[in-house]
Symmetry: C2
Subunit: 378 residues, 2 copies
């Protein structure tokens, strides 16, 4: 939150607490209603400590001091529907410049109403059989390959005993590899490879798509005996992930951050650790993809660690979720990334793996490196 | 898009075109595939002309020059599903700082696949009977009132012959006014008032909520004989609005920008005129709420005019949508706002109307002012 001086900051914080709830000028709702419904301002302090999530522009920081405001919203305003929780946490204030959500604590009532991960870290380990070591994930891509070509890639990764294979998040239902054809072909290829190796590689098809196709796509996924899906919840709406995680099908969910608009160092939006670490997890993600430090998005390491920490910290009755750092991760960086995040991590290697001449050999070495990293962990 | 020099900008533009499609390093996909799937870079130019959508920080502007890049994405990558169109327009680049969508032209294939407004400006005029003048809308609020109190407010506005009454966008299914109870009570109150006045005031209940409640909520809305709904598409996912607009129920949709994270003057995100003006309309909004200049969000007038312009400009076979400026609009500002936008506008007056002692009289004067403004239009 930015304001010219602490008086302005106090005024802005009060305006936010009102904007996000009753959204009427003082006096309209009556005192009793306002006391019941408006967010309670708990603190307003200059943001003197330079956290990793400070806006990146140094000149701006001097010109406009930043403040942290703590606001406690009543359950009477949020209810327990995820759409309205988001609306109160970051609704109309998203239309204002200089207001950012940098922390979020959800009360027990909301934590028990939202599903959280169905599988969690333990459940994904049980599905894959990978114990006590970082998991390895690979992506089938690029967009434009045929279903047969994508299935061939998946078979290669499954023979190398990658733990997880995901669709590229841009693979939906395009003519080059239509959904039903692709998912059926890839699932068969992975099943064949699993039967040959005795392994349990998971295939997560991307089901991000029109709301009125989701039921049908989930039905195919279940009919093929797959254990999970890939979803970009910020494209479909976060509540679509909540509905899948809370729904009748026993599917793990990997969340992809496309279109989420949350990155470190901005003056607006929801901070990455809050969105990917707390909200994606609360909405039911078992695995959460985010750009790793050192990758092509240039995110600072502290921001990435903060996401992983929120995914694995206690959160009411919810299971921990698997941090899934990605985004230009080099195949030589497995040791560094494993050391950064520890064994409860899914290392997602995309394009740099696909550049290797001997794809199966390279994938196999990745899995071996992950196994070594697990042994090296304390 | 910001880059240190034009060479960097060119490199970044190429990286964006790749990131948003194949998302693999050069060489992986093969030349033929890349030629078919990667966005075609059409232009990279220094953003010398200072448009209204330039980032707001002057020091930053000097430190980091800005460039406009034109990229044409192939239909083979986008397909015609809205989620994937958004993913290509602003997917992974949403995770990068300094990349903003400032313009968007949709091809005929996409324009005919998306619904656009079902009613459009003409259809809303036909529903309300308001011809050739700005329409007047009022909101029932605040959150925390009972269904009976909200119904009483709605009756007052309907007796004053407001054209449209909308739920506050924060009214969902909270205990103070649960969805079914509230919508039933308000619909009945508005119907009674309409019968008394001979008017045709529309009531738009807020159906924003969990995806698995939408069908049921829409069914109630239709069963009550209502003609439209309010939805915050950036909370539910834009595709939910598309599905309603393309669906079997004959309902007009008013879109509210809560959680949309698009505001003027930022270095990231989708510019407000592109998101609210083109994408919300293409996804089926008949009326689009946005913060008006002079209101409490301090948006520049040019940004607001640009939204209205996109809502009413030719867009393939799609009907025009009603600009619905709001957000702290003063009841004395009707003439100014009507002059700013012309008669094809819905003037949404919220809190400042609710502050009036004689609510019905004040609402009536608003409608009269709108009628005068219509007569004064060329």
């Amino acid at each position: 939150m930015s304001g010219a001086c602490s008086g302005d900051a106090l005024k802005l914080a009060r305006a936010i607490a009102r904007e996000q709830t009753v959204e009427v000028p003082p006096g309209v709702g009556g005192e009793a209603l306002e006391a019941r419904m408006i967010g309670r301002l708990e603190s307003v302090e200059p943001a003197t400590a330079m956290g990793w999530d400070q806006p990146r522009s140094a000149p701006n920081r001097h010109a406009t001091p930043h403040f942290h405001a703590g606001i406690a919203y009543p359950l009477a305003a949020t209810g327990t529907e995820l759409t309205q929780i988001l609306n109160v946490v970051y609704g109309n204030v998203g239309l204002m410049n200089g207001v950012r959500v940098v922390d979020l604590t959800l009360p027990d009532e909301i934590l028990s109403a939202l599903p959280g991960p169905r599988f969690g870290i333990g459940g994904i380990r049980a599905l894959t059989g990978a114990t006590e070591r970082p998991l390895v994930g690979a992506a089938i891509k690029p967009l434009g390959l045929s279903s047969t070509e994508l299935a061939r890639l998946a078979a290669t990764f499954a023979r190398a005993r990658a733990d997880v294979i995901k669709d590229d998040h841009g693979l939906t239902d395009q003519p080059a590899a239509p959904f039903t054809e692709r998912v059926t072909a890839v699932a068969a290829a992975v099943a064949t490879a699993n039967a040959a190796t005795g392994g349990r590689t998971l295939y997560l098809p991307n089901i991000t798509g029109p709301v009125d196709t989701l039921a049908e796509r989930l039905e195919l996924v279940a009919a093929l005996g797959l254990s999970g899906v890939l979803l970009s919840p910020s494209l479909t709406g976060l509540d679509t992930m909540r509905a899948i995680a809370a729904g009748p099908r026993d599917l793990a969910v990997m969340a992809h951050p496309s279109h989420a608009q949350s990155a470190p160092g901005r003056s607006e939006g929801i901070a990455p650790d809050v969105l990917y670490g707390t909200l994606y997890r609360a909405a039911g993600a078992d695995m959460v993809v985010y750009p790793d430090a050192g990758g092509r998005y240039a995110w600072p390491e502290r921001a990435c660690r903060a996401i992983a920490q929120r995914l694995r910290s206690p959160l009411g009755p919810m299971r921990p979720a698997l941090p899934t750092p990605a985004g230009g991760m080099n195949i030589d960086a497995v040791d560094r990334t494993a050391a950064r995040y520890g064994p409860d991590t899914l290392l997602l290697i995309g394009g740099s793996l696909l550049m290797q001449k001997d794809l199966e050999g390279a994938a196999r070495r990745l899995v071996e490196a992950a196994a070594r990293a697990g042994n090296a962990s304390p």
